[in-house]
């Protein structure tokens, strides 16, 4: 078999800067790397010396796509360090915000980054001419997620007033009603989305791996929960350093991470594989109608899992609105710190489980910070899948293989700038 080389400099339609490098000689893979070439930002150092009440605002800026997710992990870590237990209403509103971000992020990924591959175009722009109804629907649905966050926290990119202890501004009942109304109005667009994605056939790829996601009683965990793995154990967020270990690979500015197996997956597919029984009815029904039975072992089905999660978050968001509206007469008060110590928080963000960990000194200033980012956790797993795919596609044209690899990387919805923003590399 002839050899070939694939070299994709700055893969498109992903967040951040990554290269795909494959070198096959005499049918043997000599080199295969997903290079992470994002410029590091040193957040762990930037946080040193800052007051606890700045942490959420600073770490939201790790990522524009999952700013609400970073804010959640940050305030959960801070509350753990500050001895704050938020009230139930605060948790409901936080969950509603997470639903909004998850819908927006998944829709952006599915329609704008993934769908062009299935229409054989290089971006969503040509589709505006050939399939205007699809593009208009995509824009409406993307706006849905953004609007929910804008009504409740001013912006989706870098939310305002989402703080340890509560919200700087509590929404008015009519604002929650408006969120509920725009959710209701979006139902036909979501139904059409399900129909569209039913027609897109995901490439086949099977490889057994470990899945890691949060697990919480009585719900499909997003906000927070205990660390669960498809290989067993469930332990609290504070144990994250015992559950996973990071290792340095020289071609990646973000460290690779492993749990029990050599690599593991986080994100929509991992969450679905671990928590599918807790999906809300519509989401569960569509999963069944698609003929899919968890665990989903094909990484391309991360796209499908995102679709299912959009429906789940939609249903959950309406439920959160109703619960909040039912609490008439509730007056929101921010809770204040009761101590300064060390705390860790875990939250499910669109791309998987995210950990923040802060240590505070006696003045409430950060002396040590750590973050474990979903994309960093997925990197080793993506490379393992790339190996399997290259083997499976042996004999096909290099161009076709390249396209398959790009689609595979894209299916993980990597957020490379996130993954690189907290790196602590130790060369051995």
């Amino acid at each position: 078999m002839k050899g070939y080389e694939i070299n994709v400099h700055h893969i498109t339609r992903v967040e951040g800067h990554g290269n795909v490098v494959v070198n096959v000689r005499d049918g043997r893979i000599e080199d295969l790397r997903l290079e992470i070439v994002e410029a590091p930002r040193f957040f762990e150092v930037m946080l040193e010396g800052r007051k606890w009440d700045e942490a959420a605002s600073i770490t939201a800026r790790i990522c524009g796509i999952c700013a609400i997710g970073h804010t959640m992990a940050s305030i959960l870590a801070s509350e753990d360090a500050l001895g704050i237990v938020p009230d139930e209403e605060t948790k409901l509103l936080r969950k509603l915000l997470i639903d909004g971000e998850t819908i927006q992020s998944h829709i952006l990924h599915l329609y704008f980054l993934v769908a062009p591959d299935f229409f054989n175009v290089g971006s969503v722009i040509p589709l505006a001419g050939t399939h205007p109804e699809v593009v208009k629907r995509a824009l409406r649905l993307k706006k849905l997620g953004n609007e929910i966050c804008e009504i409740l926290a001013g912006r989706k990119i870098h939310p305002i007033g989402v703080l340890p202890g509560g919200f700087a501004r509590w929404p008015l009942p009519e604002e929650i009603l408006r969120v509920r109304k725009i959710l209701e109005d979006a139902r036909p667009d979501l139904e059409a989305t399900v129909e569209l994605f039913k027609t897109l056939k995901m490439p086949e790829l099977e490889r057994k791996t470990e899945y890691v996601a949060l697990k919480a009683p009585g719900e499909y965990a997003f906000y927070t929960g205990d660390i669960a793995s498809s290989l067993g154990k469930v332990t609290p967020p504070q144990t994250y350093l015992d559950r996973i270990s990071e290792r340095v690979v020289s071609h990646s500015a973000a460290k690779h991470v492993k749990a029990q197996a050599e690599s593991y997956a986080v994100g929509a597919r991992a969450r679905l594989n671990i928590n599918h029984e807790m999906l809300r009815p519509w989401a569960k029904g569509v999963l069944k109608a698609l003929g899919l039975k968890p665990p989903l072992t094909n990484p391309f089905h991360n796209n499908t899992a995102q679709l299912i999660e959009v429906l789940h978050c939609y249903e959950n968001a309406i439920e959160m609105c109703d619960e909040l509206l039912a609490r008439k007469g509730y007056v929101h008060r921010m809770k204040q710190p009761t101590k300064y110590g060390r705390g860790a928080g875990a939250s499910e963000v669109p791309r998987g489980v995210l950990f923040h960990d802060y240590t505070l000194d006696a003045d409430g200033r950060i002396t040590k910070a750590n973050c474990i980012i979903p994309t960093g956790q997925n990197l080793a797993n993506i490379e393992a899948d790339m190996h399997t795919l290259v083997g499976q596609m042996a004999g096909r044209e290099p161009q076709e293989i390249q396209r398959g690899l790009e689609m595979l990387v894209r299916a993980y919805d990597p957020c490379i700038s996130c993954a690189t923003h907290f790196l602590e590399v130790r060369f051995v």
């Binding site: 498109t12 040193f42 605002s57 800026r61 796509i65 824009l139 706006k143 870098h158 590399v425």
Partner: protein
Amino acid sequence: MKPKLGVFSFTSCEGCQLTILNLEDQMLDLLGAVEIVNFREAIDDRRNDYDVAFVEGSITTPEEVEEVQAIRGRAKILVAIGACATIGGINALKNRHDLATTKQKVYGDGARHFPSEPTRRVRDVVPVDYEMHGCPIDKIELVRVTKSLLLGQIPLPSEHALCTECKQRVNVCLYDKGICCIGPIVRSGCGAICPAFGEACVACRGFLSHPNIASMVEILKSKGLSRAEVEDRLTQFNSLTPVDLSPYYLS
């Protein structure tokens, strides 16, 4: 012929280019008015024949210096978008630490593999025609600036303090709620969105050209903020515009 637009990203969270994608209501109009020829996050094309370049992010590596110089060479108009690009923003917090120590701490012996320079604004590296401030940039301003550029005009950034927009929005002043805010010395343009949602201004649009630092510090001191707490407020986004506090703390 439609003007050609390129969108480029350097050290940042990419939230400003996402704000472009968040123009859901105007997206189809925008695509009718300009041709997007380079936008890695959204499209496969990577053409270099752009007229206007929107540049997001701070410049923090030698590679980024070369890239932004090449973009400047090709673009007729270069617009720096967002706090990382216009004032250094959060990225500039890095410059408050000794870079050699930081690198040693983070990379150990491998520092040479990941070159990092002190954070710079885009205009510290190449000439910039317009700066769109904010973290992230504001959608309404983005549309307004884009329209102006299409009409061949370069708009002027705001030189009013944030307080003017707080009044326009009929926000209750945060000082009346017992919250300290540095809005009086900060450039507006965001519609005072943070105070409207209960949080003090973080100065993500930078300070006014002639901020009254003396009065601002006096107010913050009178509200009981320590020198370190005053410094926190002035440095979160604006470490590249250091304010010498020593004249106000002589005793």
